[in-house]
């Protein structure tokens, strides 16, 4: 944990040097609809960076789930075109196995990698506890609430120990109370996991609340319209962030910039 903190500090000073995910000239069309055009992005190690306008496509290209029409994605300096163990995906609709218990679902990434049952279940139990689901190991997904199901999805992604977590609107199918709790947990997890979280969200407040870097994509074709790095101190009480001066200013600033796309 101490090592993680030191690492984050170095990142703060030299963000451009230590980019874990680099996106270069990515474009993608669905038929005649141009979804993305010429996207260049760096995601520094150990940071959270959501993109603004629902660009699940970009996230899935980074994940290697869909191919781009042009451009490259590099993770840890290596070009990638298919899913790999250094990236883990958290799905909007959770994508849990309905016939498997929480324990098996969380351990499923490791199961696919051929980790022994004993080892993967030990790891899974640890992360189940980390996301606050201790005691629910033997429950099935249909016995859990939406928020709890997404915690299972998050634990599964943490379990495979990837460097980058890709979250596709993870809170959109979760009710408001759970969403707030979940966001706080994400801030906590970020500080003690030393992972890079990239996530897509529609919510300006959510983006500003948890992110070190916010990338705003303009709609149709999706292009990087702005990159914002809110300077918010998140070390103390998470509730304080909502009243932080920088937080409120950044939310307002982004809203003013996005207004032109509404209607």
């Amino acid at each position: 944990m101490r090592a993680a903190a030191i690492r984050n500090e170095t990142v703060m000073t030299e963000p451009a040097v230590d980019a874990i995910v680099e996106v270069r000239g990515i474009s993608k069309s669905y038929g005649s609809v141009e979804a993305l055009r010429d996207i260049d992005l760096d995601f520094p190690r150990g940071k959270l960076g959501p993109s603004g306008s629902g660009k699940t496509t970009l996230l899935k290209i980074i994940a290697g789930l869909i191919g781009a029409d042009g451009g490259t994605v590099s993770v840890n300096g290596k070009k990638v075109s298919a899913p790999g163990p250094e990236r883990a995906f958290v799905f909007q609709d959770f994508a849990l196995l309905p016939w498997a218990t929480v324990l098996r679902n969380v351990a499923f990434g490791l199961e696919l990698r051929g980790t022994s049952k004993e080892e993967r279940e030990t790891t899974a139990r640890r992360y189940i506890k980390d996301v606050g689901l201790a005691g629910f190991e033997d429950k099935y997904p249909h016995e859990l609430s939406g928020g709890m199901r997404q915690r299972v999805g998050l634990a599964r992604a943490l379990c495979v120990d990837a460097d980058v977590l890709l979250l596709d609107e993870p809170f959109s199918a979760v009710d408001e109370q759970n969403r707030r709790k979940f966001q706080e947990d994400l801030i906590r997890l970020r500080t003690n996991q030393n992972k890079t979280f990239i996530f897509v969200t529609h919510s300006i407040e959510e983006a500003v609340y948890i992110s070190d870097r916010i990338v705003l994509l303009s709609p149709r074709p999706g292009r990087v319209s702005r990159i914002i790095e809110p300077q918010i101190d998140r070390s103390g009480d998470p509730d304080r962030i909502h009243r932080d001066r920088h937080y409120l200013d950044t939310v307002e600033e982004i809203w003013q910039g996005l207004k032109q796309y509404v209607e």
Binding site: A63, L65, P83, A88, F91, P98, L112
Partner: protein, 250 residues
Amino acid sequence: MTLFGYRVPMMASLLVWCVLWEIVGRLDLMFILPPFSDVLAATVDLVQLPSWQSATVTTLRAFLIGMLLAIAAGIPLGMLMGRAKIADDLLGMWVNIFSSAPLSAIVPVLMILFGFGENTIIAAVFLFAIWIIVLDTRAGVRHISPSLIEMARSYGASQPALYGKIIVWAALPEILAGIRLGLIRGVKGVVIGQLLVAIVGYGALFETFSRNFRMPQFWALTIILFAFALVVSALIEWAEAKVEFYAGVR
């Protein structure tokens, strides 16, 4: 169901029909309809006959082999059609034609191909049962949530793992429904096959009984077949109920 304030058990309606049958039979209106009690007595006699026992073994064996082949071929074929568009385009039309065609008409052709024996019966069972299994498996695979597949891919699932750990399980409710319907069609196949070949198993017995106007035995055999089809489909339904719990939350 309740009648005059009393709860009537499920099988009560069957009892009513049995009594009705008995009455009509006793009236001696038609020789093809003997009293139900005679049929019951004939059933008891029939199951003790060595000829019935060997016919049952023959029939059951042909049915089981035909069904196993239909399941073993139908599920992979359905999966292929559910996953690969080209396979679906190539085969979809034929599967649909065969699943709704009057297959009894083809059984004589099967006789030419497979001879007057057990192989023809097995082929008939296979041909009757497979198509609905293919169609239901295909529908099940089609209904799998795309994010489950993406999830497996993003965590590096190999092709065998994708099928063995995700697709089979996610499509299981539909696959079981297909097998259940396939079994019922397979019973039809075994009977029709044996009737047309007429020298094997139940077909030979049916032929003997109806030609000699032994109606109680004829009905006894029919009832045994109906009961068998019902029990088999009830067994699969029980298995379906076990996986039902997740069918709704996929």
